[in-house]
Symmetry: C3
Subunit: 383 residues, 3 copies
């Protein structure tokens, strides 16, 4: 249907007002969630950790991808491996501490002491005799594919993953000026939320809610400045303009640090908001990079890990700590404002009276996100 158009900054936008949202079951149904896990979280590239978190041989971090536990580990060739946290002997979880270092440079099962190399190869299965259905070489730990982009470790649990660059086309070359691979984690906060993972992505892609929900953010970046980048596929994003030259998203509105590396021109006054489908939000500022890692635990429960990346010299500069703190406080405040309304939307959409909502023109990109979701699920209609 022809929805008409409206002009904004000299551009004709289609009018999406009145386009309908997904039905409520897409946020609550256990069945749809299981389908999402299988067709999205176990098929797509998903964010796992920062390379810096496992910088030395033997360093590891456990992550969850839906129901799966994986060990992200730096092996002896200094490569990052993503090993399923499951012994090949009888299925015991190999490791249950969230992070650490394998001091022996090997991974030993706590139950029967089967021992694996850091790259997953089975080194020793005590007393097991080969040749009666058991071959050591067939018993390496299962692993997921790994791709590192700008210091972000992405993994793919599918046995035949699509190329990273296809899924992430919208990101290729996009934030090169920030040299994000050189940045380091200055701060981390973990949030546990009672809402569907998609509500977080949707929340991040529209500023229709900003005037009411985020008074401070709206002061620093006027709502009217919100604009979407051209993007393809499920990675979608846009930016907003800072109202103050040399400002940033902090409690004071002042930059938290000098601008990063080669960031220049318009980027010095823009905050980018990218939803890196399905489990990451990426927000380059002129002076730092914020990102969220979303771990779904069920249709109505997620963990959201939020990280602040700064230049290492800033992190190590005592005089720069106030700026970092101000950036952390600003986003912690803003995050909590968002989580509250996401959780209220989660609750409300369970009503039998909620069939499908209405998108405004400011939420056009959410409709695109819905279409990508349905495509990934292979749903031709939503009933």
């Amino acid at each position: 249907m022809d929805k008409g158009k409206f002009r904004k900054r000299g551009v004709d936008y289609p009018i999406f007002d009145g386009t309908r949202t997904l039905p409520g079951k897409y946020y609550h149904s256990e069945e749809i969630y299981e389908e999402e896990v299988e067709k999205i979280f176990y098929k797509f590239w998903v964010y796992a950790c920062r390379a810096e978190e496992i910088s030395s041989v033997g360093d590891y971090k456990l992550i969850k991808v839906a129901n799966e536990s994986l060990i992200l580990v730096r092996d002896k060739s200094h490569e990052v491996k993503a090993l399923f946290n499951v012994c090949r002997h009888r299925g015991t979880q190999l490791c249950d501490k969230p992070k650490g270092i394998f001091k022996s440079k090997s991974i030993q099962c706590p139950y029967h002491a089967w021992t694996y190399a850091l790259d997953g190869k089975l080194l020793n299965a005590p007393l097991m005799k080969e040749g009666h259905g058991f071959q050591k070489d067939d018993c390496a730990l299962h692993q997921a594919s790994v791709h590192i982009w700008e210091g972000f470790v992405f993994i793919n649990l599918d046995k035949n993953p699509a190329p990273f660059e296809v899924q992430m086309e919208a990101l290729m070359g996009k934030f090169t000026d920030w040299k994000i691979d050189e940045l380091r984690i200055a701060h981390h906060l973990r949030y546990e939320l009672n809402c569907n993972w998609k509500l977080i992505l949707q929340n991040y892609q529209e500023c229709y809610h900003c005037p009411g929900v985020h008074p401070l953010l709206t002061e620093l970046t006027p709502v009217q400045s919100a604009q979407h980048d051209y993007s393809k596929g499920a990675v979608i994003g846009g930016f907003m303009d800072l109202s103050k030259d040399g400002g940033s998203m902090t409690m004071t509105g002042e930059a938290a640090a000098p601008s990063i590396c080669n960031v220049s021109g318009d980027d010095l006054k823009r905050i980018y908001y990218y939803s890196v489908f399905p489990n990451m939000l990426l927000t380059p500022h002129p002076d730092f990079v914020l990102f969220h890692h979303i771990t779904p635990l069920g249709p109505e429960k997620i963990i959201n890990d939020c990280y602040w990346l700064f230049r290492p010299e800033i992190i190590n500069d005592l005089k720069a700590q106030a700026g970092i703190k101000s950036a952390v406080e600003f986003w912690d405040l803003t995050n909590k404002q968002d989580w509250k309304v996401c959780e209220q939307m989660q609750t409300g959409t369970k009503s039998t009276r909620f069939t499908r909502g209405f998108y405004s023109g400011r939420e056009d990109i959410l409709y695109q996100l819905d279409l990508e979701l349905l495509k990934a699920l292979g749903h031709h209609n939503t009933d």
Copy 2:
């Protein structure tokens, strides 16, 4: 089948001894509960709140009817509205504080600031353009029907509700002498119970359990005096006689207050026990009115809110507080005695060995309640 009869107070009663109860699944099954929600809680008139709780324009109280959250609110015409707590934009729960006042005399969604009048009409949907599938006039908040009887606000979530007077025929004109609409809440206690909602209604309709469970109640109102009123449909009830003239149900057995308004004659020595199917228990005393509001949260979990209504002049009289306190203590004690056995019945009926129990003649009206339930569910047999 002919079950014979027995005489009591000169009346021939059919002998129900040996009539069988419902099978255990009616108290535990998730499926049957869902059916009850749909065919009973979303079809019948259900108790919501007292009119006095939302007496001024903008006053509201949130209530739950099974899985639905509703805003009971006094609108600008001083009418009570029962609005579904779900924004028409994208389904966000509008309000999450249990009660309060909408100071702006409007209801604003916390997410994108859509704003509704107190009667549910959509006043403002910022930036939304009409005419592409969206019409403001079609986007009033969904609402339930409202009927106020004696100061009790009842609502009906069905889109074509049956007349209130048909469902509540047994109550029509029944307690006029109490002028219950003039009474006010003197006290409120909330209980959370692990049992099916029907066990509470059943418990209230037989005094077969009184000698063992309620020694004090049995002293104040002899078990032999228990008698059922003529009643029709799912509203069932009866009364018991006070053993002491001018007494009431209090810790001392003395009246908590002077008798109410026009209460006279036999009613001065009677305690009425009505189960106002499906979610209310109503207990007029000569001197006050007790009632319970049952909110099911699942097949095995309910909230029970218990209220004591007194004349406003009693509530405001410092010298009358001891009487109120004595009534509260008596019923809190008695309630807890009941909850304990209801929860034990809930547990026991889960045994594979429990098929169907046996009703005694003293529990004949419970059998009638079962039949009304099966009728409402459209169950012709219970296997």
Copy 3:
């Protein structure tokens, strides 16, 4: 398939290396668990309590068998009865205190005061008239069959139970020298574990895990000494040799008490490990007897009650308390080591990458246990 053989202590054992474990669903699936409850826990003889725990007329102990609550009680003929904890009137749980004494020598329902003899017979149903579908004699409490072996009370919930001696053939006459019926509970510890009940039985039947998991146990009883007894059916077991003459499983390795009664010869240096399928582990030492009572609460949750049995004269001897304490501490330590790996196995086997594990030759008897399980369930394949 021919798996070959290997020699151990002059005996040819078949090589089981590479035999596959059960698929993960046998540890997690709600459906398979329900099947196990019905076909195993409600069909097989299961351990209930020690006879000493209900030694006098009226003494009772509540136990759970999966979802059923039973009252183990000593009746007036001094026999042990296993009564379903469910009133025949309307299904109320009769008793909710874990243990005690029925002082009235009868069991009265707390709801409507129906009263039963200690052998389950209905003595009194107040006001109930017989002859209209209700007969008192038909309304005794449901009961399970009872068999006492060596002071252990076993019960069977099946209405036509197989003979105890058939299921427990492997135990018949096996531990007579210990006169276990004369022993008494010196200590009891309760553990709540997040794992499937079968993992506990499996854990108890192989010492492949001992070197890594139990350093102290391995010092006291060398792993190489582990050997399986001949056993039939689902009761399986074996023993290990103490490295020290006159030693036992205690923190010091010294015996906790003099050896028991007629225990002699090889038994003075052996620790027996028997899995009394489905819910008991039995571990006779030269000087005491340890046993575990496993109560499943779901596919991934159990209660494990661990008891230490000693001669009564030891329990009453003040000077012997240090020995008892040392035995308790040793097994508490060892238990917790086991529970940790069992819980990690439970978690790991939920991975989609876990299909079936590999048994080593040291785990041959676990494969036998799997076959017995599948036989009990009537599963001809495990897909």
